[in-house]
């Protein structure tokens, strides 16, 4: 690689005196201050600001309707249109999960069940939301498209126990997912 010699720019008298630049800077910062006090900062409208700067103030204002489609919130399990739980407890998500937040206890589906041919479903499916990093790898790795990241983002609790999402809670968040795969569907 050749050596490139950079020439420093020659400063004029005005630039050397520096006070002009100072005053310009003051005008700039004060301009920002006035604009943000009036709620007219650049981008305040698009970001749905609270009227002070560009910030949305959280508990009163929610950004729910501004969430992008690709937003990754809490992971959840889904059932298909016949009410069958999609998860077959293959445990791929448990293995891929980088912070090891997922814990699955697999079980067999009894022979007299309608969906006996699916063979397996989770007995327990816990996601520790303290550990979850919302990376979406479980969603990506799932062969049955049973786990999805939803847009829920306010996962709070007063004890560690509250922060573990059990199977029941996960289906509650996930709900029914229609379409996509019909692998076990009778109609097919």
């Amino acid at each position: 690689m050749s050596v490139v010699k950079l020439k420093r720019p020659k400063l004029g008298f005005g630039e050397k005196v520096y006070f002009g630049a100072l005053i310009k800077g003051f005008l700039l910062t004060m301009g920002h201050a006035v604009k943000s006090l009036r709620g007219k900062s650049a981008g305040a409208k698009e970001l749905a600001s609270s009227g002070l700067g560009v910030t949305m103030q959280f508990p009163e204002q929610r950004w729910d309707e501004h969430l992008p489609d690709y937003y990754r919130g809490a992971p959840a399990l889904v059932t298909d249109e016949q009410g069958r739980e999609r998860c077959v407890s293959c445990q791929l998500c448990e293995f891929i999960c980088p912070p090891k937040a997922i814990k699955i206890v697999p079980s067999e589906i009894p022979a007299d069940d309608k969906w006996a041919k699916v063979e397996k479903r989770p007995l327990e499916f816990d996601i520790d939301m303290i550990r979850c990093i919302y990376c979406g790898m479980c969603e990506e790795v799932c062969p049955e498209q049973a786990i999805f990241l939803r847009k829920d983002y306010l996962i709070t609790g007063l004890a560690r126990k509250d922060m573990v999402h059990t199977k029941k809670k996960l289906y509650e968040i996930g709900g029914t997912r229609v379409g996509l795969v019909n692998k076990w569907n009778e109609l097919k």
């Binding site: 100072l22 004060m30 920002h32 201050a33 943000s36 560009v54």
Partner: protein, 419 residues
């Protein structure tokens, strides 16, 4: 003549009231303003939540006060944190250093006149703790002691970044102390007094140094001599203000603690209340610096525009309220100047170290020196004949030219002996 006990009581009251009720609360208030103002400049909101949590007591709504309780929460946090002393520090100096930064800043409070004398039923009481005749000199003497705190903190931390911070601080303080002292020589020549109370009284009667639009109690345009003196006064004001920024380690000059280069500078190894003391020392120094600038250049507590003599006799039931009005005026000026400090911090980027040294030694020192002679020439001109004044002006121009030439030559790169 009140007896000794009453005198002592008055002095103690003054110390407690002015230091702990007037100046110390200004520290958290300026921290709050710093956070809110910087937030507004950066299009943010800033701390606006901490208030009185009335909902905990069963009320419907919390009382936010625009977050004014935030600095209190900060203070409590710092108090309750673990006060950790690292293994490798030099213990006694490590413990001494934080106190050495706060105490000088608080001692200098005692010469600042906060308002005109309070009048209680005919008894006058000055709103200054110690009305001594060496005001500015006392402030310089004491406030420059705070560099010991920073240097000791840097050295006793026994680790490299604090050490560099301490060394930088020493060099910076020494460089700017000179221009700080030289820059107010013209001002003191103009006032012919070193007593800060008398300086402010003079400005109340004859116009602020930077706003000389009234004389002897009546509005008028300044005469030629005063108008001419405005030039050295303004140069003094700029040099003094910038040097105060450097003395208080505020933003464009906060090299002793710059986070980007030195982690935290001299207070890297400090935590909890010891860190809070450094923090407090910095802000207290800022408050005192602002107070000095206001007192010397912007009329101190005076309301200006000949209003001071008009309100001097106002009283409610024998208690003169002029003193309280003046106290309010002084505090508002102080807050305005603190806001200016904050604006500068969030506008001007930090100087490089060589730029800082060049500004101190090559520009401000020379400018302050020439400014002293310029002021002397203007003040002395009416007392001498025109010929002497002109000779003086020519000499001054020659000396100024010589100084500029020396400064310019010293900036030239040394010629390489072998190319």
């Amino acid at each position: 003549m009140p007896d000794l006990a009453i005198q002592l009581l008055i002095i103690v009251t003054k110390i407690i009231a002015l230091t702990f009720v007037v100046v110390l609360p200004l520290v958290p208030i300026s921290v709050y303003f710093e956070r809110r103002f910087s937030a507004v400049i950066q299009d943010r909101v800033g701390p606006n939540r901490v208030g009185i949590p009335l909902t905990l007591l069963g009320f419907k709504k919390d009382f936010h006060f625009f977050g004014l309780i935030q600095p209190m929460a900060d203070g409590i946090k710092l108090l309750l944190k673990e006060d950790f002393t690292p293994e490798h520090v030099r213990k006694s100096f490590y413990w001494l250093a934080p106190a050495l930064t706060v105490i000088p800043a608080l001692i200098t409070v005692c010469v600042v006149p906060f308002g005109s004398p309070l009048n209680f039923f005919g008894h006058e009481e000055k709103l200054v703790i110690a009305d001594i005749d060496v005001g500015p000199l006392f402030v310089f003497a004491i406030s420059s002691l705070s560099v010991y705190g920073i240097t000791l903190a840097g050295w006793s931390s026994n680790s490299k970044f604090p050490f560099i911070g301490g060394v930088r601080s020493t060099a910076q303080m020494i460089s700017y102390e000179i221009s700080l002292g030289l820059s107010i020589v013209p001002v003191l020549m103009y006032f012919e007094d070193l007593n800060l109370s008398k300086i402010v009284q003079f400005q109340a009667d004859n116009g602020w140094l930077l706003l000389p639009f009234w004389k002897n109690g009546s509005l008028s345009l300044p005469d030629l001599n005063t108008a001419l003196f405005w030039i050295p006064a303004f140069i003094s004001f700029i040099i003094f203000t910038v040097s105060i920024f450097a003395e208080t380690n505020r933003m464009p000059f906060d090299l002793p603690e710059c986070e980007t280069e030195l982690v935290g500078g001299y207070h890297t190894e400090y935590s909890s209340m010891k860190f809070a003391l450094f923090f407090m020392g910095e802000y207290a120094a800022m408050v005192i610096g602002s107070a000095m600038i206001i007192t010397l250049f912007l009329g101190g507590w005076s309301l200006g525009f000949t209003l001071d003599s008009k309100i001097a006799d106002w009283n409610i039931a024998g208690v003169g309220i002029a003193g309280f009005i003046h106290l309010g005026v002084f505090m508002s000026k102080l807050l305005a100047f603190i806001l200016f400090f904050i604006l500068v911090r969030w506008t001007v980027p930090r100087f490089r170290y060589d730029q800082l040294m060049k500004l101190g030694w090559v520009i401000f020192f020379e400018a302050a020196l020439v400014n002293v002679f310029l002021a002397a020439l203007i003040l002395a001109a009416p007392r001498f004949s025109t010929a002497i004044t002109i000779i003086g002006a020519v000499l001054l121009i020659v000396i100024t030219g010589a100084i500029i030439w020396v400064a310019k030559v010293s900036e030239d790169r040394p010629k390489l002996l072998r190319a």
